[in-house]
Symmetry: C2
Subunit: 471 residues, 2 copies
Amino acid sequence: MSKYQLIYNEIIYVLNGLLLITLIFIFVYMNHLNPVEIIKKKRDGGVLSKEEILHFVSAYLEGHIEDYQMSALLMAVYFQDINEAETMAFVESFINSGETIDLSFINKPKIDKHSTGGVGDKTSIILAPLIACFDVVVPMMSGRGLGHTGGTLDKLESIPGFRVHLSSKEFKENLEKINVCMIGQTDELVKADKKIYALRDVTATVENIGLITASITSKKIATGADGIVYDIKIGSGANLPEYEHSEQLAQNLLKVTRDFGRKSIAVLTDMHEPLGYAIGNWVEIEECISIMNPDSEKSSLSDGLIEVTLTLAGAMLMLAGKCSDIFEGIKLAEEKLYNGECFNKFIEMVETQGGDSEYILYTDKYKKANIVSEIKAHSSGYISRLDGLKFGKAAVNLGCGRKKVSDKIDYSAGIILKKKSGDKIKLGETVCLVMGEDKSKIESACRIAEQAVEINNELIEPKSKILEIID
Amino acid sequence: MSKYQLIYNEIIYVLNGLLLITLIFIFVYMNHLNPVEIIKKKRDGGVLSKEEILHFVSAYLEGHIEDYQMSALLMAVYFQDINEAETMAFVESFINSGETIDLSFINKPKIDKHSTGGVGDKTSIILAPLIACFDVVVPMMSGRGLGHTGGTLDKLESIPGFRVHLSSKEFKENLEKINVCMIGQTDELVKADKKIYALRDVTATVENIGLITASITSKKIATGADGIVYDIKIGSGANLPEYEHSEQLAQNLLKVTRDFGRKSIAVLTDMHEPLGYAIGNWVEIEECISIMNPDSEKSSLSDGLIEVTLTLAGAMLMLAGKCSDIFEGIKLAEEKLYNGECFNKFIEMVETQGGDSEYILYTDKYKKANIVSEIKAHSSGYISRLDGLKFGKAAVNLGCGRKKVSDKIDYSAGIILKKKSGDKIKLGETVCLVMGEDKSKIESACRIAEQAVEINNELIEPKSKILEIID
């Protein structure tokens, strides 16, 4: 054999070797990303690799992995949980699945807030314009009502003309112009999360802290905020009523958000009774206006709402670098809340998003509910409990929320509390007003709301709504 | 108001009351059968009612409940298990989902056998004709190869012309005429089990004793047997290798089968090494023929196979009321196995189902495998282990089984053991033959099979293959 022949043979051997290694690699790789093997691994308590999660989610979105395999994985996750690294991988896969909003062209801090949802929770309506007054950008994407808790989008849409469905281009323009914009999630954002969330809803796999964390943080991170304040609600009116779970959720949200290079603070707040005195849509906007408008009469029933809103504002301003601690931030926020600056910014936002500010300035112009019913005290004493969950359910029954996606919302309907926990009350005195268009709906709401009220002989001092601040 | 008016009003009141009660009932009923609520109940460790299971399975079969909801329920069952009553409800729902075969027109005992599957497990081929010799009807529906274990249908189809897909009409006619018929499951039988099994396979929810029990028993009960012997394989070559799980499965199978009014015995048998000496399709038929044909030379390597076959035969004859205990049954079976009666019945069955009995009488006529490779002992000593799982995998690689549904089976391929555990062996002596059509397949099979053989200096006495009989 000639020398060249030998070299040629050597090369062929090496190439064959490389081909074999490549084939083995492809085989191992394919097998390792087999959906059944991935489900089995999680089912048996294994830790999924980042690659496995990214593959599973993207293949699912592309239709290569079926709904039934995703739901089996989700149920396995429900039982075996996902650790921090796995949660991060889910977040990354959700963010990668759609567009992300780049706000780096605006040279200001961008701070967002997320609430896990509660009854009468209207802090966003005040917070977004309030923080925008500090030359801080608030890129807020909110949701619809979920279960017994209301949704910021539904409340905003009760303002005649207000548009919550803007393109991301318009969203960015508004943020650049007036620092604040409140919209619904665009179809292009975190597509995988949207598809998976819908599946979780019909397969009893919603209640997992890891998946909840991934769903919340991916949306917030994709929206372009560089600091996020989480308002974690605890109590019967919240979506996650247990303290223990909420604290774990708070820790997870902070960890993941920070691991993605965003600043974050979590505030755990009380949601045993409705926040403020209004539950509904327009009635909640009205309550916010009465707080923001310097000419409005203030109700002491909004005290808890103001406490929570100012604390969240303090936390947002701290993340924005506008103060050195939350308490200083609260002081700053308080000033602009009451001097009319916040109200003017709110009006500016409403007008920029197509809303008719006449209704904001003259709330009496708004169409009133046809029927108003009253719930009266069945004994004298002190209000010891106004159950958040029951008031939430009563409000949904009134038409303030949806039982199914196709339900139409009655924007004028709602419940107005006349007393809060700790208040003295006499037999026959009004506890709350129940308002709506439909007699049978009002009757069913009253039946539920009546169960929500407890009157006791002893005065139980009302406590602060702020349970814990984790920063 | 007149008297009639009053009576009329009374009737209207009563009718209104009845209507209300009916509406409430319908509401509670509908809510209670909400698929998400049923999944949640099982997920949270609840016990599903019979009604809930029957509804879930039938709605799934009709397409009202989606695959992703069924897979979520199955994964919840994997983690939370199902109790005896729930298993019974699954069995009932599976049986109700398709046709059932009524054999009551044949006035003879009808006894079936089911094996959980093992490597070289060919007992059915001998058992079915053997028991039929006692004027006992054997209505046997078998399966294809599963994983590393072979399938009776594939083995039967290696006989030229043998038809395993008969209508239930033909199945009944054959049973009436010659007492025995061996076929594949018809499309009409236990439809829900078929649909759910396919889903379990791709969602990692196969391995649950309750679901395995429901799947096995529903098929056997729907086939019309009034007594069933379960052969539960234990060891590396089995589908469920752990003793503990197998014993639990045996107890569950007995309980459910008896609760459906059928007699039942479970035999736990050893499956650490292949049963008999042949692994494949035609080679296994050949091994059975060598046992059944009085003119054939017998190999001592079939000893374990004969022990298991006769024990199962004894149990089947006992269920048929042909003897008072299994040992008496073994004696009766042994006689007909060796005197040629069983062999004649086998030929009769092959001919009735379209098979060419020339190949049964003159096995040398069968097309031989092109290539035969040998695995030799790498040292001298005693065979201490012939790993069932590895031999099973080697056989699948040879083409005896399928890696995917579309794979074609090579009926001539197979492995022939020349030694069994406890046998003395010299360095370089042949342990087994590896036969097939394709050089690369043989090479890969040999690599796996070589790993299956262990040789030791000390003699370990071989033990009985019968580990436990539960009756």
